[in-house]
């Protein structure tokens, strides 16, 4: 669930993260148009911006030593370039889809169901002071 992109790089298989995750998006307040990918695959590799590892780590709340920041930059770049091979496909005659997958609806009815093992959930909360979950005080979002 939590996207630990950097950690997954250490493993053998490429991460299943969507390539979009690693591109920088600023908050847009009004309705934006659909994103179009304008980067083109080049012979010598991707023409995408190099990853700002320090910033990525900050937004993902992962602490890295300066050495790790140095080391992970090229590794992340490699993964992106690996995915970048997709850009060689000619999409001119293909209708853009809204998202991957075409399974269609998977809906449920509005019928209440109580989860039967609430106690187990509560028991696994690291710091629980009945009836609340106790957390450090954080006043500002982001």
């Amino acid at each position: 669930m939590g996207s630990r992109a950097v950690l997954l790089l250490v493993g053998p298989s490429p991460p299943k993260q969507n390539i979009l995750f690693l591109l920088n998006y600023k908050k847009v307040s009004s309705a934006p148009s659909i994103r179009r990918f304008t980067t083109k695959a080049t012979a010598d590799g991707s023409s995408l911006e190099p990853p700002d590892v320090a910033r990525l780590a900050e937004t993902a709340r992962i602490s890295l030593t300066p050495q790790q920041v140095e080391a992970f930059g090229p590794k992340i770049r490699q993964v992106i370039d690996w995915f970048g091979q997709i850009q060689a496909v000619d999409l001119d005659s293909v209708e853009p889809s809204i998202r991957a997958g075409t399974e269609g609806d998977d809906l449920r009815h509005d019928n209440p169901e109580t989860f039967e093992n609430r106690e187990a959930i509560i028991a696994s909360v690291p710091n629980y002071e009945d009836p609340y979950i106790k957390v450090p005080k954080v006043l500002n979002k982001e």
Binding site: M1, G2, S3, N18, L20, F21, N24, Y25, K26, K27, S30, A31, P32, S33, I34, R35, T59, R61, I98, R99, A100, G101, T102, E103, G104, D105, D106, L107, R108, H109, D110, N111, P112, E113, T114, F115, R118, I121, I122, E129, P131, Y132, I133, K134, V135, P136, K137, V138, L139, N140, K141, E142
Partner: protein, 555 residues
Amino acid sequence: MASTLFRNIQTVPLLLYPSAFFRRKNGALYCTVKSSSSSSVTQTQTATQEKQQDPQIKVSAQTQTKTFDKLMKDYEAIIGIETHVQLSTLTKAFCGCPYNYGAQPNTSICPVCMGLPGALPVLNSKVIEFAVKLGLALNCKLSLNSKFDRKQYFYPDLPKGYQISQFDIPIATNGYVDLDLPMEFGGGHRRFGITRVHMEEDAGKLLHSGNGSYSQVDLNRAGVPLLEIVSEPDMRNGIEAAEYAAEIQRVVRYLGISNGNMQEGSLRCDVNVSIRPIGQSEFGTKVEIKNLNSFSSVNRAIDYEISRQALLHSQGQGSSIVQETRLWEEGSQKTITMRKKEGLSDYRYFPEPDLPEVIVKKEYVDSIQNSLPELPEMKRRRYESMGLSMQDVLFLANDINVAEFFDATIAKGADVKLATNWIMGDIAAYMKNEKVSINDIKLKPQELAELIASIKGGTISGKIGKEILFELIAKGGTVKGLIEEKNLVQIVDPAEIEKMVDKVLSENPKQLEQFRAGKTKIQGFFAGQVMKISKGKANPGLLNKILQQKLNATS
């Protein structure tokens, strides 16, 4: 009203609360006046610390309002509103947990809404239904294909570390809402654009402890479905903004998709305010205001913020207005800076991989369109065409239950104006006193119609009608039944009235003497006495006619 202004004068030598003196070019005056109000917007001002006015300060304030008026003539305010509507579905958006406001904390949770590893969201079909209903009611274009996205940020009330929302393809776009401003504020028709409506989930509740070292989280609310409505920046002042919010509330209540309660948090408004010199096409710097808990605070906060910004401009400090979020402080009646954020938020939006595309078929949309109730705007136009005054129209159409009661009453043939008067008068007063809704009273629309017909037809007098009404509201029953049971039929037989008049005149010789001596007002006393012995049933018109005849004959 003026004294609140002067209270502020003592702390800051500027007009901080100019609403009373705020005029628009077309001459409509807005002032937060107390009103008998049918509109939910014009709540009377919360008790303010009114101190005795110092006459000297009063004089200087008046010269300042003139400067202020002059200042505002050069600027216009641009206001946009983001509204979050909490849907009244039985279960949350992505799991089957029920949601009940006020339940014991952390009792309605499951792995999905707690964001535990491996849990997967499944969309509640009712959320789509409510979203389509709202989109249609707000005259939007619906996206038959849309998707969910992850909006990622870390905060203690957000279990997954992201909120499932809709970023670039919302379910509805490009709509508008029509409304009428309350008569107390000059009235007038307005149309405000709606940029978009999208589906998303709510976060949990975060409570900060007093001593400051830790906070508490209740996740009952995490995952509750919301519809976010973003308006076009079409509003120009606090009243327009407040009425927009009130209309959104009316619409969601009419549709039955939310109870739209600002105090409970099922309707939340954040406003964006900027000002610019009139004639300039670029927008000024936008300031966001949060913590608005009622329509009147929406109104007051916006007016305050407009004046704050205008003042800075007038002092050449327009550049000190920065894009920020301010909080409305109800106590001091002003907006204050929240801690300033550094830089824009980066939410790293990407399509939610755990949820499929949202596909809505045209037949589905059409069937919902056909099942929509008559919306507030349509009702208002229909009532207007029936000849009711705008004041009446706004009252009747404000609450869907009142409108339905009214519609049912006139469907039984009752006179429109009379039905309006009864509902807005005695019935509304009862509802207010007993703090009940029109659905709780025992009076039924057909009985109101019957009552109106009985009075109109002369079976009972108006006065008796009022008495029966109270009993019908409180205890129920039928008009015919009560008339019979209490023998209330109006006496219209002249012979019978004559007998009673004769009796009264003969039993009150002293008053008769007084009348003959010139005290003509005593006729009222005799009329009262006849009413008494007839137990209120004598037809007043006939009674007075006969009484007059008899008195003149004997003098």
